[in-house]
Symmetry: D2
Subunit: 345 residues, 4 copies
């Protein structure tokens, strides 16, 4: 009988963390009002505000990351504005043109390892405003950065502050896509905290899907110019869950006693264990292993061997013989799974 493979395909390949499942069971029979107006959502919103040290923040829940990104762009951009993003930004490569479908150009901005270079923002904006045909080109309106980035990298508090300065200089909103925020905030090299994000950005998301929830992203909006617009947009874009309390229940559980951070640390430690195994065996990593995504360089033969034991994605083909393969850990990853990936090596 064929051995079952261990899965490092992504961080959304199981259901939810047992504590969240239990909370969903406990509250299942309750009658509440819909669309997030219930007390469970309100409690979750309060827990998040508290964790962000941002009592005035508006918190809204949506089901997925693409939804959150669409809504942030609709809220933050005027029809003739575009959003600055790294070429590898999720909005640029993996959302089937969702931002363009909402009417906005993505203004590709030079980046390193998936993270926009703050100086490049200045250059791009200066070039726009110095162009005598300024109105023939798309006006920069918002900075999009993901934390962790799509390359598994993270940026520092200094970089966050540099983004803020650039945003202030050029009248841009700063939006952080935190689909994998738990992993970023608990990275061994992290210097950014939730309160930092609340302080330096205009809006950011706290991803639940990739941190133990069935689904769900919390959008935290601290810029008061943006607060009143969200619920109309959420409904218009099909992102307002009828049984909204399901989002409240899950985020309550994630933020009641720091389970969110506990899961992030677990994901990172499993990823580091994977990275160590690879390095011990002489493999090179394409990116530093600082979060829950590990990018390993394989040749054709390596890839084939590991495919027998594990499920993972081929991320890129560098040359005929050289591939970058991605291994992702989640709340459900165990040390045994990591070991199974190397059994017999």
């Amino acid at each position: 009988m064929s051995q079952k493979k261990v899965s490092f395909e992504n961080d959304y390949n199981t259901g939810c963390h047992p504590r969240l499942l239990e909370a969903l069971e406990k509250t299942n029979a309750l009658f509440t009002t819909g669309y997030g107006h219930d007390e469970l959502c309100e409690e979750a919103r309060n827990l998040i505000r508290k964790a962000c040290l941002a009592p005035e923040a508006m918190v809204q829940f949506v089901m997925g990351g693409t939804q959150a990104n669409i809504i942030a762009c609709v809220a933050g951009l005027k029809p003739w504005q575009g959003v600055l993003s790294a070429k590898t930004g999720h909005i640029n490569v993996h959302e089937t043109g969702a931002i363009e479908a909402a009417g906005h150009k993505i203004l590709i901005t030079p980046s390193n390892d998936g993270i926009i270079d703050p100086d490049a923002i200045d250059q791009l904006c200066r070039a726009h405003y110095e162009d005598p045909s300024v109105e023939h080109t798309v006006q920069p309106g918002m900075i999009y950065v993901s934390l962790t980035s799509e390359m598994g990298t993270i940026f520092s508090l200094d970089t966050l502050k540099a983004f803020r300065r650039a945003a202030n200089n050029w009248n841009l909103y700063l939006y952080v896509d935190g689909a994998r925020l738990a992993s970023a905030l608990t990275s061994s090299v992290a210097t950014i905290t939730l309160p930092d994000l609340a302080k330096y950005t205009d809006m950011f998301t706290i991803g639940g899907t990739k941190c133990g929830a069935l689904f769900g992203e919390a959008i935290v909006v601290t810029n008061s110019d943006l607060k009143n617009t969200f619920r109309y947009i959420i409904k218009q874009r099909g992102a307002m869950l009828a049984k909204g309390r399901l989002l409240g229940v899950q985020f309550c559980e994630l933020f009641r006693d720091d389970l969110y951070f506990e899961i992030g640390r677990h994901e990172n430690s499993m990823a580091l264990m994977l990275a160590d195994h690879f390095k011990e065996r002489g493999y090179h990593l394409y990116m530093p292993p600082v979060s829950n995504q590990i990018f390993v360089i394989f040749d054709e033969e390596d890839e084939k061997i590991f495919k027998e034991r594990a499920i993972f994605e081929r991320w890129a083909v560098l040359s005929d013989q050289t591939r970058v393969c991605r291994f992702v850990t989640s709340y459900a990853t165990t040390p045994e799974m990591v070991s199974a990936c190397f059994s017999g090596t």
Copy 2:
């Protein structure tokens, strides 16, 4: 201590049917691939195809009804086309302009009790094509009808066939929004079946949210011209759930042994019980009680009295003294709740 009120506010005020919850628990720890490519979704798709006697149908799952309606319009309409709808149609009144945000005009078509008059489709289309300035007006592209309608009414198989004929005559797609399809198909006056919908429409939805699921709508597409487009659109519109298997698990349970219809029947019987109680007490119904929504005519005093015992929505104000109030039943409604609504009367 104040007695807790019973809720007839809507059919999405609890979690999910216990059998669905159990299925979610059982499958929680499984590792599967994402975005609906898993075996659980495939099984659910097969069960639905079977129930529809439509082995060739494409079935896709999304999270909510507004999402489904946006996606159907994006799939079925060309940029210069509009969708025919009753004035009371959900897409016209309660989706914050989602269809217009996707670029399409809603062409209001005369209707009775929430259901488009099939003859009015012919008139509207003839007027369009006979207009010498035809290209100055929006081309009719698709018929939108909801079953049950937003007024709780249902249409007959003859009417469905009339919609089909009109669609054929004028080169329109026919789309049925089945957010409350379970209640419609199991109504005591129902003449339409799932296979009829598969046969006579181009696409329709099978609503899960209002029939015992945590969330989820199945989109059934039988017109082969439309099949290849859906997954791109679903992703672009933020409606592709990362942990897609959650939709598979729930729809498997709903369709494995007709639980879907059982819940529909239960909803309808609870609604009829409510209607009978009202009628016994001399209240008039605004619409015939054929599905899980009951519309009662109250004066100011009536409304106040019932508000003490139950949660429900004021649907319309007919005059200073006359209101239409809506009571909705769900899988979780019990005879005791119905009785509690009339205790002491």
Copy 3:
């Protein structure tokens, strides 16, 4: 040999007023910069500001009325907002869904003879904000009224002030589509002037196409919140003419010595002459003859007879035997053409 018919088909069935043609010839060989940055456009802008007694107004030129309406809606509406319009409003019936294609719902507002009832604005807005599901419905964002209306009617200064009050009450922009403004301002029953429009609206257009220009609408924006956005939008929507000075040349000529008003008066007097001829012969007018559009009630035989002598549009079919036909006058209409329409009667 068959006599050539006289045309009352519309007010854009010839080239341009001889004085405009002459001005185009005179300036044809000049070298100027493009896109409306030239001195001819600047002069035209100044003449319009002066005529409006609005030295601070921003004036931009576009080629056509649908362009102007799209741009006004993109400038004035947020993505979740709609524009209030009479059912007969040009944006609702004759622009192929241009406003919806820009993402916005048209909120049909009760009207009389093509003119929104100001009280109905209050009712529509109150209903929106009192709805507990407010965010499920489209937020009112702007009032669209045309002057003259699509029915050839005009509204008074008191009504304009009532629109302004409603706009202030509900935080709406007020936009007047002046495609036929010359005819409205010079109507025998006119009480509104250009300075009134500048004072009471947020933006309005001064139509050139239907008042002797080859093409061209001037958009006058007095609300300073809106001024900075226009040129980006104009370019994005394909409405920025490369040889922009053509618009400047024409509007200079129209406003240098009140030719605009002279043409308006001529159009109206020709229309009134037509109306008098019809009335003398016992025909009934469907709308009062106050501008350059005359709506006559014909039976089948009447229509046939007049079709032999003149080109005009059938506007509506009231019953099998009763039609409303539209006769439109322009700068090029002469008393001889009017007479020719009735020769032999």
Copy 4:
């Protein structure tokens, strides 16, 4: 008194070619129907069909190039599709995000001197369809190439055929933006003719604005799948000129006896004269001088000197000291103007 500068700023800095002006004068007083349904437009359409050897082609006129590009993309792309373009493509850099505002991503495709590499199309499309997450990325739907390109370059008939092959391979439409087509077709190195464009593309434009017209682009559509959609789109996008005959009159004149090509040749010869002057004086050209745009490399001092005699655009800054400046010729450029640019050198 200061000498007036000669203008090489662009090819739309005057009115129109005297023959077109004369034709507009001659037809000015005619009464015709609107929106391009008149006989003058029909004659122009026939002349263009004849020049293209494409009797079945649909020809529509719009006012400007951005309009034409928007309309081509709306006609040719489905909502989840993008358009392939060089990074320097006009739709990517100088239309204020018009294509994105219509909902479509621009898929930047590797190019040389402003012209897409046909092989790169294959690579981009193969990568899309081989991606297991195919529906998470934008589907290639159309190829956009401009002739001449924004760099003043032109491609050969072989390259056009290679675009066609790529289009056939990947089910793409091929659209050529011919804003400066006259210059391209009459270039000394041209191998492409109008009939070639009609044969190998699905649609292309014949630019009038930059070839002696006041304004106007003819869209030639040879793919019969696309023909029925255009007039709805043209109206919806605000591009349907009320006095449409103005476009007919001008294109009649341009195509009645090859004036279009005569103007193209004149533009090219003036540009070549400019290029020769520059080369004689030791200046280097940034691009080969094959059309009516000349790109010269200047240092700071050069630029300053020429700015005293001529109006031209700085196109790019290569380094602190090195600029690329653009000189453009038109129907109105004379040998005297070229000489004046070098007077005293």
